[in-house]
Amino acid sequence: MANVSESVGHGHDHDAHDAHPSFLQHHFDTPAQQFNASKLGMWVFIATEILMFGGLFCAYAIWRGLEPQVFDDAHHFLNKILGATNTVVLLFSSLTAALAVRSAQVGKRTMTSVYLVITIVCAAAFLVVKYFEYTHKIHLGLLPGHCFGHPGFSGAIQNGEEVGTCLRIHADSAPGMPQWVKAVDESGHVQVLSPRANMFFGLYFVMTGLHGVHVIVGMSILGWVLYKNQKGAFSPAYFTPVDLGALYWHLVDLVWIYLFPLLYLVGKPE
């Protein structure tokens, strides 16, 4: 460790190559060059991630423009309180990720690990809340596509009404097509959703699902960074993986910052 920082600190031109710190890949001249290249690579990757989610946001914008009323009806089936809870959980995990980077920058290895563990625990908590949200919707028969209102999902009694069942309002409607769904929304109102509402839930499940995949990937990355940190791989001279892992985690947070209001909050309040 001491060796590493010393060789970085000297930095005379003539011995820059002789005193190659172990973390410095040999195709870089200096740690700063390596650090800046890694960062730029990460930001370009983040740009491609935004464009990947961007396709879904474009689909959202188009379908919401075409079917404002259906989106309005359907979004009452999302629980604002659970969504807000998950937002707070992710924001807090973003804070701890930033603090983990700061601890690594000032060389507090134990605190880096503590903050990384808190971040990973928050990520797991986010997924647990998401699990309860998903199962509730699936039990109401709100899975998109041909599952929408599928009689395979048993009806339940809520507020004294049979809900969550498929309603074959059009006797001639083809089997395997989305059906009408009667269910109790999050405000406690019984609603009959048009088959076209399956588009909303299609977007909901795909957007939050892709985001959920990113949560799992982010947990894995931060877990690997935690492992390397425990092995003493990082120092104030070299903390790039902590920084980039945290950047990925902040990206997960960024996407959710937009998903939450667009899916849970826009529309007329009941």
Binding site: A2, S5, E6, V8, G9, H10, G11, A16, D29, T30, P31, A32, F35, N36, K39, L40, W43, I46, A47, I50, L51, G54, F57, C58, A61, I62, G65, L66, K80, A84, V88, L91, S94, L95, A97, L99, V101, R102, Q105, V106, H170, S194, R196, P236, A237, Y238, L247, H250, D253, L254, I257, Y258, F260, P261, L262, L265, V266, G267, K268, P269
Partner: protein
């Protein structure tokens, strides 16, 4: 010890190592922990605001308010948690370029939707929604397209937009075969 001294600007909290002589070491701005907590509290405050606001109806401004608040939150995260504020400017440009191209993507898609011809069942072909004239481009109206459109299913439950778009796509396929 020499190493400790050369890193001193990086580890102090005002930490501006940019002006230093280029010794090849990594110099970054290090904000105090309290600063990150302050950003976090601002983000929580904005989350509470956006949830509270959602219980009021501002009509079509609902989505604008929600997206504006989300953008302020995202800017805070990107500028401070992701260090863009004290990072190389080119990283910020790369990041913002993604949103520029995303805007191009969404606007062009909207433009296409707004100005593409709508399927007219009585006419049996595409009609410009604004002028009422036969729409330029695309398939000319033929009996084949008109027939296949009718078989694609009545517009009953499906909306005019959705049904029309599906019908048009189906008509194209059949005609090409």
């Amino acid at each position: 010890m020499a190493a400790e001294h050369s890193h001193a600007p990086a580890t102090s909290s005002h930490g501006n190592g940019h002006g230093d002589a280029d010794d090849g070491a990594v110099h970054v701005h290090i904000a105090p922990s309290g600063f990150y907590w302050g950003i976090f509290l601002a983000l929580i405050f904005l989350t509470v605001v956006t949830v509270r606001v959602s219980y009021f109806d501002f009509g079509s401004a609902n989505i604008i308010i929600a997206v504006l608040i989300a953008t302020v939150k995202a800017s805070l995260v990107a500028a401070f948690f992701m260090h863009l504020r004290h990072d190389k400017l080119f990283n910020t440009i790369s990041f913002l370029a993604a949103f520029l191209f995303l805007a191009v993507f969404i606007l062009l898609t909207y433009d296409d939707l707004g100005y593409r011809g709508k399927l007219d069942y009585a006419y049996g072909g595409k009609v410009d929604a604004h002028t009422g004239q036969a729409a330029p481009g695309g398939e000319p109206a033929t009996s084949a397209t008109a027939d296949s459109v009718e078989h694609e299913g009545p517009p009953g439950a499906a909306g005019e937009h959705g049904g029309g778009a599906h019908g048009a796509a189906g008509g194209h396929e059949k005609h090409e075969k």
